[in-house]
């Protein structure tokens, strides 16, 4: 209900108030997000039935996995919301927050429903508000990117809908519990249904060729929206695939589709890493947000590659990488927004050496990129290590491929880590080490705004380091709530 209240307040403000100011925005919007977070934490602490979950209605059941992810999303949304108050023009804030809350509602519903058709409706709410948020700057670039996003996402949604339709032919009731317990009588129908679901969710999860909306939508959207898209929304695609695997009971389909997913994920990862390098080689533009968007595809592929194996405790690893990647990527997109506020540009050539002028931001970029690159001491290393350990264990146990082929896949994932590193070092060279571009005009922010934004960035950075150094503090809190 809380996001609905948020939508209502923001929409009312958008209609009746011509202008908002930062204080009003802060007082109106942030308490709702904070309350949502507090409520979720209370539910999390009280919840004891680990197997059956916390039942709100028959089709709304919260589990340890989903509550953890929703708490994480809420926490990120609060920080992104604070940043948005300073980033979005004051007169547009009410409209922006109305859409922001709608998306928030869509995402939360996706993680809390336990019925395939309700999942689809929530999905559509998220996708459509995402489309409107990409359009928000109302520039030619955003219109084009938004249209592409809408068309490709619609293809994805149609796949999901088709998949649901086919599964309804097997199971009379589309609730998760019913589908997973129903014996699949028509194997072809079952296989088709699950495959369409995987493909549909694959659009948002950044699967190769289905991900073409992503590198366009991220640069075109306002920076906080890019942060939401990259740090939060795309994870819904991975969650969709995760749910699909939870529902599969036929082992042949499971192994076959796991093989396909592993192959697709490794190809996607390699392609995205190489495309990051391409961005630096381009003469026409060196768009930092586009580079980060490709990096998102790389990390989604890490998630995708373990999705078929992330049942039970394995889901914690999925969750951990969602956390570490989400934090690092939110951080970097917000920094991009900060630079946009300072310089009006997101081209690396204009931003050359800016990390030298703003040393604290330089250090934060360094830590965030090192986390994405998987340097020990950062959250990214822990999650990447666990992904590789789980992946190798599981593909070996399941005998997914022959022994040597399994080893080759592990090696490909590791080499991809190196490829990603090339991109991150390159980015670091531009932003932190190069001589500052003296032609770039910098318009400093007021001290208050600057300090609040830096505060948000520091919180995110410290979280990355905390997870990196004390992962068990996070994992043990989640694991006690998993069956």
């Amino acid at each position: 209900m809380l996001p609905v209240i948020g939508i209502f307040i923001a929409a009312t403000m958008a209609i009746f108030a011509k202008k908002s100011n930062k204080l009003i925005s802060t007082l109106l919007y942030l308490p709702i997000l904070v309350t949502e977070l507090v409520v979720m934490i209370i539910i999390y602490n009280d919840f004891t039935d680990l197997t059956n979950g916390y039942k709100i209605t028959d089709n709304f059941i919260l589990h340890g996995f989903t509550i953890s992810i929703v708490i994480f999303i809420q926490a990120l949304l609060i920080l992104i919301g604070i940043f948005s108050i300073f980033y979005i023009r004051e007169k547009d804030q009410s409209t922006y927050f109305a859409l922001f809350y709608s998306m928030n509602l869509g995402i939360i519903l996706i993680f809390t429903v336990s019925h395939l058709f309700l999942l689809f409706i929530s999905w559509e709410l998220m996708v459509l508000t995402g489309y409107l948020l990409v359009l928000f700057p109302k520039t030619e670039e955003s219109l084009e990117a938004g249209f592409k996003y809408l068309v490709i996402s619609t293809v994805g949604s149609l796949n999901i809908l088709f998949g649901i339709g086919l599964l309804s032919g097997i199971s009379t009731d589309l609730s998760y519990s019913n589908i997973s317990s129903t014996a699949i009588t028509d194997e072809l129908l079952g296989k088709l249904g699950f495959t369409f679901l995987i493909l549909g969710f694959g659009v948002t999860a950044g699967m190769i060729f289905l991900n073409q909306w992503l590198p366009d939508a991220h640069p075109a959207a306002p920076a906080p929206v890019s942060a939401v898209l990259s740090g939060i929304m795309v994870n819904a695609g991975i969650y969709g695939m995760y749910i699909t695997y939870q529902l599969m009971t036929n082992s042949t389909t499971e192994i076959l589709s796991a093989q396909v997913i592993v192959i697709i994920a490794t190809i996607t990862m390699t392609e995205a890493n190489l495309l990051i390098i391409v961005q630096f080689l381009r003469d026409d533009s060196k768009d930092i947000k586009r580079i980060l968007a490709y990096s998102t595809i790389v990390h989604l592929s890490y998630l995708m590659v373990i999705t078929p194996f992330a049942l039970g405790d394995g889901s914690m690893i999925l969750l951990l990488h969602i956390f570490t990647h989400g934090i690092a990527k939110t951080l970097l997109f917000l920094i991009t927004g900060y630079f946009l506020m300072l310089t009006g540009s997101r081209d690396l050539r204009d931003l050359r050496g800016i990390g030298r002028k703003y040393k604290s931001i330089g250090v934060i970029i360094f830590i965030a990129l090192m986390s994405l690159g998987g340097l020990p001491g950062t959250g990214g290393f822990v999650s990447k290590l666990l992904i590789l350990l789980l992946f190798y264990q599981k593909i070996d146990q399941m005998e997914l491929f022959s022994n040597s082929v399994n080893e080759v896949f592990v090696l490909i994932l590791i080499i991809n880590g190196f490829l990603a590193f090339i991109g991150y070092l390159w980015l670091m060279k531009y932003l932190i080490f190069d001589e500052p571009n003296e032609e770039t005009k910098i318009k400093p922010l007021s001290k208050l705004n600057d300090n609040i934004i830096k505060g948000v960035l520091i919180i995110l950075t410290l979280s990355l380091l905390f997870i990196g150094l004390f992962p068990d503090e996070v994992l043990s809190r989640i694991s006690v709530k998993l069956p």
Partner: protein, 626 residues
Amino acid sequence: MSEEILVWLILLPPFIGCLITPIINKIKASLVPVTSVLVLLVSGISASIAFIQNLSGDWNTYHNSTTWIEFKSLANIELSINADPLSIFMAFVASFLGLLIAAFSLEYMSEDKSKLQYWFFIQLFIGSMNMLVLAGDFLLLFFGWELVGLCSFMLIGHFSYKPGEDGLKARLSGIKAFLFTNLADSGFFLAIVVMYKEYGSFDFAIIKNANPSTANNLIAIGLVVAAFGKSAQFPFIPWLSSPDRVDIDAMQGPTTVSALIHAATMVKAGVYLVSRVYLVVNIKPSEGFYWFIIVIAGGTALITALSALTSVGIKRILAYSTVSQLAYMFMSLGIAFAALEDEQELSIQAFNYAQFHLLSHAIFKSLLFLSAGYIIHIYHDKKITSLKGVAHWDKNPILAAGIISGSLALSGIPPFMGFFSKESIISVSYELGFEHDSSIGKTAYVLALLTAIITALYCARFIYYLIFADSEQEETTKDDQSIFMKGVIAVLSVFAVIGGLFGFKLFDYFEEVHGGVETEGLGLFVSHSILNALIIISALALSFYSLLNYQTSITRIQSFWLIKWITTISAEGFYLDDIWQLGWIFTKSWVYKIRRLHTGDLNWTIGLIGIVTITVIGTIIGGVDL
């Protein structure tokens, strides 16, 4: 003092130091260098006490572990500290030499514009190296390993802040070092993933005591590749030293950083890792594995010695020399692996000689680098050809003593430290090759002896130019360096002269890590080293004599086509940089074509989506067995 306290006193101060450095910088920036050195003093003294306790047999291996990640069914990952004699030995090298280099930096870096960054990373560097060597499992070792790589990246690129070409070269050099070592680290990552699957643990003790897995060779090869990357062995040489023409390598960092990388920390990590593999991973004997190590190391030793002979950059000569000397250590470890099954005593001897040479190289190479830094600090020139006679005895006896003792130790001239350690390695390869009729041993012997001869030649050249050649520098250049710089050079010179006499004590020292098996190293050394030493002394003497009296003859020899050809390719670092560069250009042109897949055209995109959809559905529905 108890083992536990000493270990934590070695390990923690550098980390605490780097954390408080920014705070001290805020309070009073001028205090940063002093507090950093004080912090390193605690670590250095503790490591020295631990080392002495170990030497006197008054040390019990300290082991402590803590749970880092605990998963219900998936993983239980522990991080552990293991302070056995090998770890303490390495910690002593890193902390003690690190301390001396830091003390030298007080004066050397006094004018630097980015002191906070320098001292932060120097402390982190030494702390990470200590973590690496005191780790009791491969995961914590990997932590230290990667942090050492990160610090080297930041320290090699320290002068990034300089405007123009100097700054650019520093930036590119740092990135180059990080990329090369990171590429090789893929082997380490692969090894730990495979290790965990096979043993369910990263712990040294568990892996050592478990039934050997068939994947052990894969683990060992992954780790050796990572070690070769860190220690700049073929084909990873260019990050540490590239030709004068390219000039983008680790030498772009401050000379104190070069000393730290070459003598005390980074490159030694590779040797330590392979030593650990020898002690921990039960490798199923495979001839290919020994050949892999010995051929790569032997080849690296030879080609980098040739490059050192033909380079003109004072630091570059020393850098090539480092790679060459590290290769000796790897060769010795290769012999240790080769003899492991049939000749256990010889194997242990080879292992111990590698450690001995590591210690001796750490001392004479830090001495040479700091002496080179001293010269660069005064004359602001890096070319040996324009630094003729700058270290003449009359001008600066301490510097001259440093260069002579360091160079003679490097050449392996008795009684300097390098004589004992290098001759030991040549002797053990002779023993394996000719006494036990092994082709691996023979190959190692030939490569080691040839390299030793070339080393003697370039050392003679080094001494000749810096000390005996007629000076071309203006006499007005002032040599008013502080007592710290001179003092550090003097201390290291003394070690370089007399240190070798105590080296064989290491055989008792390492007895525990070999499970109490008693061996002695002096006998083997004495029985084989005389002929080798005579060959090396002759090479050095001949080279000196020619340089002093027959410069025209040298020029004539150099003009002979074969010598000219070898000189050219050696000076170009055997074109390794160009080969990597070509690889990069090829990759770039190929990678750029991938862009065609992401044109942004919607029709094309929908077509691609169709292809993916049909392929996936076809594969799953068709039940294609992959």
